[in-house]
């Protein structure tokens, strides 16, 4: 190594080792919090540590986390997709419609995935094709997609899903490990590799930090963003299959407000809402934390809407606290 570089100014690759950087990261803080909450929960309720109870607890976050992985990439690239909950509703409605036409499980899955992809394509085309701001476009498609569900369903509901369809939301792969949990694990690895180990992931970071410079550097910005919205649609479709299968029914109000929880999960995971930074391991930890808190509140009989206060406050404070912290540190330094 050394003899190659006779120049007196040898610039080292890294100053900090990867492990020391990891220790100081947001993710390790999240890990500590996760462990604390886990300990608190097991302290608060004797039923918490039961494997089956823990397994039940995972359903609180798996579906949302599936979308959060794709959403993390979208937010890192500097965009946002607020239509994901409505995509769930439209996919679920499409599957319900397919059931009434006699479709069986494989067809239902295809319909669910296809609807998700289609919705993602609509978002992607409007945002990258016409160059419209993603926040307004997805507020629009959020009304549009759910509105279509309302037009199709009105105040009715679809039930009568085939028995084999129940596997996706209720089935177990092995012992206490549900299909959803397994899917969550697989997707965590796939998205982790995609974001952190591939050229594609690198371009996502580049776009999020400086879109213009990325374009000048030969990154196909429009294409990357289109793929991200497509991917988010697909993941919302997958989440819709799981949720519909778990509930066994479809109403147009299904998954109302889930977009907020997904965005909160992503931001809690350390992804900057302004784009450019964040990791998949962070999102995974955030998913665990939110799931366990929800479950803990459930054990304490706290109603769901109070949970939403907690989530809203969490969303604001995870962004506010680092800002306050750095200000306090600066003041101390002076």
């Amino acid at each position: 190594m050394a003899e190659q570089h006779l120049s007196p100014r040898l610039i080292p690759d890294r100053l900090q080792s990867r492990s020391s950087r990891m220790l100081k990261s947001w993710e390790s803080l999240l890990l500590v919090v996760a462990i604390l909450i886990f300990a608190l929960n097991s302290f608060a309720s004797p039923y918490f540590l039961d494997p089956w109870n823990l397994s039940d607890a995972t359903f609180n976050f798996t579906e949302k986390a599936l979308i959060a992985f794709a959403m993390a990439l979208v937010i890192i690239s500097g965009e946002i997709d607020l239509s994901v909950a409505s995509i769930i509703a439209l996919s679920s409605t499409a599957m319900g419609l397919a059931v009434t036409m006699g479709a069986d499980t494989p067809v239902l899955v295809l319909v669910g995935l296809g609807t998700g992809l289609f919705c993602g394509m609509v978002n992607g085309l409007l945002i990258t094709g016409l160059g419209l701001p993603s926040i307004v476009v997805t507020i629009g498609t959020m009304s549009l997609f759910r509105g279509l569900s309302f037009i199709i369903l009105g105040d009715k509901a679809y039930t009568g899903y085939p028995e084999s369809f129940a596997f996706f939301g209720q089935g177990y792969v092995w012992w206490v490990f549900s299909f959803e949990l397994a899917l969550f694990a697989v997707c965590a690895v796939v998205f982790g590799v995609l974001l952190h180990k591939t050229n594609f992931g690198r371009t996502v970071y580049a776009i999020g930090n400086n879109q213009t410079a990325a374009l000048f550097s030969g990154v196909r910005v429009g294409r990357v963003k289109f793929i991200l919205f497509l991917l988010t649609g697909l993941m919302a479709g997958i989440a819709s299959i799981c949720l519909t299968s778990r509930l066994g029914s479809t109403r147009p109000s299904i998954a109302l407000g889930v977009e907020l929880e997904v965005v909160t999960m992503v931001v809690l995971g350390g992804v900057s809402i302004l784009g450019g930074s964040g990791t998949i391991p962070g999102v995974v930890l955030a998913a665990f934390i939110m799931g366990m808190v929800t479950f803990g509140f459930g054990l304490l009989n706290v109603p769901g809407i109070v949970m939403s206060i907690f989530i809203g406050a969490l969303l604001i404070s995870v962004i506010a606290l680092p800002i306050l912290w750095s200000r306090a540190r600066r003041r101390m330094a002076q």
Partner: protein
């Protein structure tokens, strides 16, 4: 005029003493002093990065100095906000006139101090009337009720000056006001400045153009590397002395241009045009050649270069590279074909601040460093090391955020990024704008080295010494057209300036 000759007895309108300002890692100003006198124009001279804009920001209350005092009419004052500076009568007219495109001309003049009626509501009738009067005073024939975005750049300047008059400013800062103006407009500006002087305003005039400085200024202050290196009366100095103060050395020694054997044509551009930005662009670029593109800011050089690499589409024209016709629709296609563009706006278009150095360097070359779409960090570090070392980058590690580097070192990373794609043609747009002298020399030396290795270089520059020092051949652009072509041997500063300003009676290829 009598006072003009006896400055020592006059009290300055504003005096800065011992001002210092640091940013993390950079000392932008150290112990500088500057006095502006009523009825007098002071030229602030210095290379890009000498600290002029930092000083302007301190004068207008945007930055707070770390040390030193500000005295207005002899009274020690502080400008904690932009409003405070404005209340003390200091106002600035900026390079990119910072006003509001969507608001009316009149409102742009009176925003923040609009006349009110007895109910405390804004009195639009008086406001428009006053605006009309002020515009007449600056000699601009503009309807005050139209939106600002419908005005040209020269008229926007007039609006900015009218605004300065409207707050009854005693100190007017003009930051390169002539940069985008035509010859006639510049003369109108001179007349206006004379009128402002007669009104007793103290004017700080920032410019790179010496003819302007000698035409309009009474005094000078020279900055270099954040310090003050000279000040006095313009009548006591000549251009050479000012240049020497500015650069701290003789101009001739700066440029390490090596003579290179010029080879066969590499890039041929013919009949290139765009509906609003440029037309009739024809030229050849040869192997080992450095082709300079000179012109005033806004002459269409960057727009043409960006069109060449597929950022915008030309309406007609052909590009041949090594004899093959190319159609380039995006920067990625340009890079794949071996044409790269190092953009002018480093922070916006060049560096990706937030990503580490090595990721910046390898971004356009990821296809080469990776294996079937998967990153190979070892290859990336090797490539980044190779090119950053060739450019003599100074950094703590390759894993450092590029945003923590100084401007000059950021520029080295940016050049390394595009060079690592192994191009045949490299276009450098204002490659040394706003970087320190040491980095400047490194960039120039490197440019020479590249040409020596057979690379073809296009250098867009607005600095005459740089063009004269580095280019084998120069194309001058004016108002979107080629206004002159010069070989190195026949190059003089006067010829360049004349062609760029459109003063020459007849130049080859120039549009009449």
């Amino acid at each position: 005029m009598l006072q003009e000759t006896t400055p020592l007895r006059m009290k300055p309108a504003i005096a800065l003493e011992g001002i210092s300002k640091s940013f993390p890692g950079v000392k932008a100003l150290s112990d500088v002093s500057l006095s502006l006198y009523p009825g007098s124009v002071t030229a602030l001279i210095g290379e890009n990065g000498a600290g002029k804009s930092t000083l302007v920001k301190i004068l207008t209350g945007i930055y707070q100095p770390d040390g030193g005092t500000i005295r207005v009419d002899g009274v020690e004052t502080q400008f904690p906000t932009a409003m405070a500076a404005s209340q003390h009568g200091v106002t600035a007219i900026h390079q990119e006139t910072v006003l509001f495109d969507e608001l009316s001309v009149a409102e742009n003049i009176f925003l923040g101090h609009a006349p009110r009626n007895r109910f405390g509501l804004i009195d639009w009738k008086t406001l428009n009337g006053n605006a009309r009067d002020l515009l007449r005073r600056v000699g601009a024939d503009i309807d005050p009720t139209i939106r600002l975005r419908d005005l040209g750049i020269a008229n926007k300047h007039m609006v900015a000056i009218a605004r300065a008059l409207s707050i009854d400013a005693s100190v007017v800062i003009m930051d390169e006001p002539t940069a985008a103006l035509s010859h006639k407009e510049i003369h109108e500006l001179y007349e206006l400045i004379d009128r402002l002087k007669a009104d007793g305003k103290a004017i700080l005039f920032i410019s790179h153009k010496f003819d302007e400085i000698f035409r309009i200024a009474d005094r000078y202050t020279v900055f270099r590397d954040g310090g003050m290196v000279g000040a006095g009366l313009i009548a006591d100095v000549d251009q050479d002395q000012l240049v020497k103060m500015m650069v701290g050395r003789d101009v001739g020694q700066v440029f390490p241009k090596v003579d290179v054997a010029i080879g066969e044509p590499v890039l041929t551009v013919s009949g290139y045009r765009h509906p609003t930005e440029f037309e009739d662009i024809n030229f050849e670029l040869r192997r080992g050649e450095i082709l300079g593109f000179y012109g005033l800011i806004g002459a269409g050089r960057s727009e043409f270069m960006q069109s060449l690499i597929g950022i915008t589409r030309p309406s007609a024209g052909a590009v041949k590279l090594d004899g093959k016709v190319l159609v380039i629709r995006s920067p990625s296609e340009a890079i794949a074909n071996g044409i790269v563009y190092v953009p002018e706006e480093r922070g916006r278009q060049g560096a990706i601040i937030g990503l580490p150095i090595f990721q910046n360097v390898t971004l356009p070359s990821l296809n080469r460093t990776s294996r079937s779409g998967f990153l190979k960090l070892a290859n990336e570090f090797a490539l980044a090391r190779e090119y950053t070392q060739r450019l003599d980058l100074r950094a703590a590690s390759l894993d450092q955020d590029v945003g923590t580097l100084s401007g000059g070192n950021q520029q080295k990373v940016v050049i390394a990024k595009w060079l690592a794609t192994q191009p045949k043609v490299i276009i450098l747009d204002e490659p040394t704008k706003g970087i320190d002298i040491g980095s400047k020399a490194a960039v120039h030396a490197f440019m020479s080295e590249l040409a020596g290795q057979g690379l073809s270089v296009i250098m867009v520059s607005s600095e005459i010494p740089e063009i004269m020092g580095m280019a084998d051949r120069v194309i001058v652009m004016r108002e979107g057209r080629i206004a002159g072509r010069f070989e190195r041997a026949e190059l003089t500063a006067e010829k360049l300036v004349r062609a760029a300003a459109g003063i020459a009676t007849q130049v080859e290829g120039g549009a009449a």
